[in-house]
Symmetry: C2
Subunit: 483 residues, 2 copies
Amino acid sequence: MKPDEFRQHAHEVVDWIADYLEHADRYPVCSRSRPGDLLNALPDAAPEEGEPMSRILADFERDIMPGITHWNHPRFFAYFPANNSGPSILGEMLSAGLGVNAMLWQTSPAATELEQRMMSWLGQLIGLPDGFHGVIHDTASTATFCALVCARERTTNFAINHSGLTGAAERGALRVYASREAHSSVLKGARLAGFGADHVVAVDIDAQRRMDAADLERRVTADREAGFVPCAVVATVGTTGCTAIDPLTAIAPVARRHRLWLHVDAALAGTAAILPEMRWILDGVAGADSLVFNPHKWLLTNFDCSAFYVRDPDHLQRTMSIHPEYLKTTRDAEVVNYMDWGMQLGRRFRALKLWFVLRSYGAQQLREMVAGHLALARAFAALVEADPEWELLAPVPLNTVCFRWRPAGLVDADTLNERNAALMARVNLDGVIYLTHTKLDDTTTLRLSVGQRATGPEHVQQAWDALRAGARALSGKDADEDA
Amino acid sequence: MKPDEFRQHAHEVVDWIADYLEHADRYPVCSRSRPGDLLNALPDAAPEEGEPMSRILADFERDIMPGITHWNHPRFFAYFPANNSGPSILGEMLSAGLGVNAMLWQTSPAATELEQRMMSWLGQLIGLPDGFHGVIHDTASTATFCALVCARERTTNFAINHSGLTGAAERGALRVYASREAHSSVLKGARLAGFGADHVVAVDIDAQRRMDAADLERRVTADREAGFVPCAVVATVGTTGCTAIDPLTAIAPVARRHRLWLHVDAALAGTAAILPEMRWILDGVAGADSLVFNPHKWLLTNFDCSAFYVRDPDHLQRTMSIHPEYLKTTRDAEVVNYMDWGMQLGRRFRALKLWFVLRSYGAQQLREMVAGHLALARAFAALVEADPEWELLAPVPLNTVCFRWRPAGLVDADTLNERNAALMARVNLDGVIYLTHTKLDDTTTLRLSVGQRATGPEHVQQAWDALRAGARALSGKDADEDA
C-alpha cells in the first residue's frame, strides 16, 4: 500500500471512528448475528490478487459490523466494562504506526521508561504504598498466573523452576487459597502453573460474599497439619459476581504468619481507588506481595492494559528471566528489560495510550467519571429497591448491581431462575441494553455493571425501562398462556 | 475528549503516521537514548487537570521519538523482523475504535468468526494439511507454553490439572526435548508449566545446527529406561540463532513412536512457507500436534498476532477451559469461544488487521515480498563470501545471514569476538543500520535479518557499506594504537 493510499484511507477510517464514538448508540448493543453468519459470508481462501481498500472497508461495514457487540455503547452493562476513549485510541494509533517491540530497554528505551513512569503514576493514583513496582501485562489472567508462579518458586526456593514436578512431591502438595467467589482465572492459573485444581482451596465467605479470614487461617493450619504446603492466597477486591471486597486488613496478617504469597486481584475495582472516598477498598494492601488491576476495564484505556505490581521485582525477574545470547545488550545491568517481568518475550508499546489518557483527562476528570458511575449504580439499585416486583441480591459497594425480577406471588426458585433468564434473553435481543448474569448460590442473578465512557443517567433509566417493559411483556405472555 | 477534538487530532495523527511510514529512514535505526533520559524528563505524578492534546502530541514528538528504536525502518536488520503495514494499521485503528473483547462468540460474533476464517486462510497459505485448527495468540511464547501444558495433560491424562505436582511424582519426571538452538521460550514455557529446567533435554544438532532426530530417539529411549516420562518435543523451523530448520520428517516418527507431543516453533519461518519453493521447510508437519508462526514477524501484520494451530482442539479446550456461570451463554454448544483456546480470558480483535493485510496485498504480493527478502539475504551473503576479510558462519536457508568480520592475520578467538562486538556497537551507534548478535558455539556472530516492509537492495548495500566502513575505522584505530 502506497503512503498516499494509506493517508487517504486512514483519514476515512478516522472519520468513521469519530462518527462511531459519537453514535455507537444507534446499534443494538449485543450483536444479533446467528452462528455462521459471517463465516459463511467469507470466501474459503485468501485472494490471490490484492483488493482495493475501498472494497475492504465497504465489506467491513457490511459484513463485520452486524457481528459486533458494542462494548463501548453507552448502554453496555454486561460483564465488567472495557471502556476506551479518544486519547487512548490516538495512543493506539501511534503505537501501531511505530510498531515497536518493548521487550528490551534497547529495543525502544522510551517504551520501557514510559511504562516505568506510568506504572508509578497509576500506583500513586490508587494510593498504592511505596515499594510496589509495576509492569503492564495483557490481562489479569496472565498477571495472576505470574503471581502464582512467583509464589510457587518462593515457597520451593526455585525447586520447581529447576527440577520440576518431581522435586516438589517430597514436600507435599502446594496449595492456593481463594474464596469461591474468586475469578476463574485463579483456578485456571493454578492449573497452568501445576498446582492442580484439587489444591485450590475455597475459603468460606461471609454474608456479603467476602472472604472469611478466620476460615482462611483455619484451613491453612489444618492443611499444614495434614502435610500440605500452603503457598499463596488470592484476595479479590471486587469479585466478578457481585463486586464483594475481600478484607485485606484481615487477610494480610494470615498470609504473613503462614508465609503465603498474597496476590490481590483488583482487576475491575482497583480503578475505584482513585477516589479518596473509595481508597478503603485497598486497606491492608501494604501486606500484599502483588496486585493487578486493569486500566483497560474502567480507566478509559483500550484493551489490553493490565497493571501488575509486585513488592519484590528481583524475585519476579528471577522467576521469569532467561537470557540467551541473542537477547543480551550492553545496557542490561543499568536498565529494566520488561521481558523479564512476565511470560511473553515480545511486548506492545502499551504505555503510550495510558500516558495519553492520564494526561488528557487528568486525575480530576477520571475521578469524576468513576464517581459518576458509582452514583449511577446506586441510583439503579434504588430503582430496584423501590419496586416490589424486583429485588437486590447483593450489596452495591461499586459499579455493579445484582438484582432480579420477582413478580408478585412467584416463589418457586426454579421458576424464578427461568423467568429471569428469559427476561435477560429478551432484553438483550431487543438490543436497547446488554447485560449478563451470574449465579449467587443457586439464584440466577442479573448484573448491571456501569462503566462505559458515555453512560449517563438517561441510559441507566433506559435500562430500567427496558427491563420493566420486558417483564411486562413476559407477564402478558404468561397470562395469555394461562388463559 | 469531545468527538470533534478526537476527529481533529486523529487526522493530525494520521498525517504524522503517513509521514513516518514514508520517512522512517530519516531516524537513526537504534535509539541513541541513554538510560534515564525519558524517565527524568517526565513529571513524577499524573497531572490533576487535563491537558490539551496538542501539548501531548508535541511532547510525544519531543520526548518519546528520540527514545524509539525504529523496528519498521528499512535498515532494521536486528533480531527477527516485526513488520507492519498500512492495511494492518488501518485494521488496528478500527479495532481500537470498536474496543471489543473477543473472549466469547457472543461478545462479538464477527471477531470470533473472522478469526476462524483467517486461521483457515493462513493455514492454506503455508500449506498446512487439513485437520489443523487455529487461534490467534499474542506471542509464540504463549503458544509454546500452551502447547507444553497440553502435552503435560495428555501424557498424564489430566492428572496435573486435577491433582497438581504431587500426583505426577509417582510416575517420574516429565521431560521435554528440544535442540540447544531452540528459542528461550521453550525453556521458559517448560519452567512455567512445572517441568523444570533440569527436564528440558538438549538434543544434539548436526553441522547445520538442525536437530539430530537419531539423537532424539536415543535420549528418549534412555530416559524411559531411567524412569523418566518423555512428554513433548519442540522442533524449531528457523532457529533464532541462524534459522536452522529441524527436520520434521525425521522427528515426527520419533514423536509418534514415543507418544511425544510434537510442537513446531516456526515463529519466523512459517511465513516463508507461503512460497511454493519454500514449502519443504514444513515437510512432515502432518505428524505434529501443534504449530506456531507469527504473522506479526514477517507478514506485514502488526504485533501482536501469533497463529497457533492444534490438531486436537478438544484437547486444547479440555486443558484450558473453565466455565464459571458468569461466562456462560446460550450459544456455547454451537460456537467457538476462543477464551477456551488459550490462557487469557480477554482477547483483542486481532483478526481484523490480518483480514485487511491478506486482502489488501493478496497472496501474490505477499509471496513477492518474502521472495524478495530471501533474495536480499542471499545477496548479502554473497557479498560476505566474496570478501576475504569477512566470513559466513552458517548456511542461509532463509532471511538471516550469520557472519563476522575476520581481518587478515587475526586468528585469536577472543580477539575476534571482541572485534566483532566492537564493530556491532559502532555501526549501531552510527545509526545507519541496526543489527544484533548471537553466539554460535563460542563465536560471536553478527546477524543480519531481512524482513521489513520497505527494505530493498539499496538498504542491504548500505548495511554492507556501513559494516565495512566501521571495520576500516576500527582497523585504523588499531593501527593508531599500535603506532
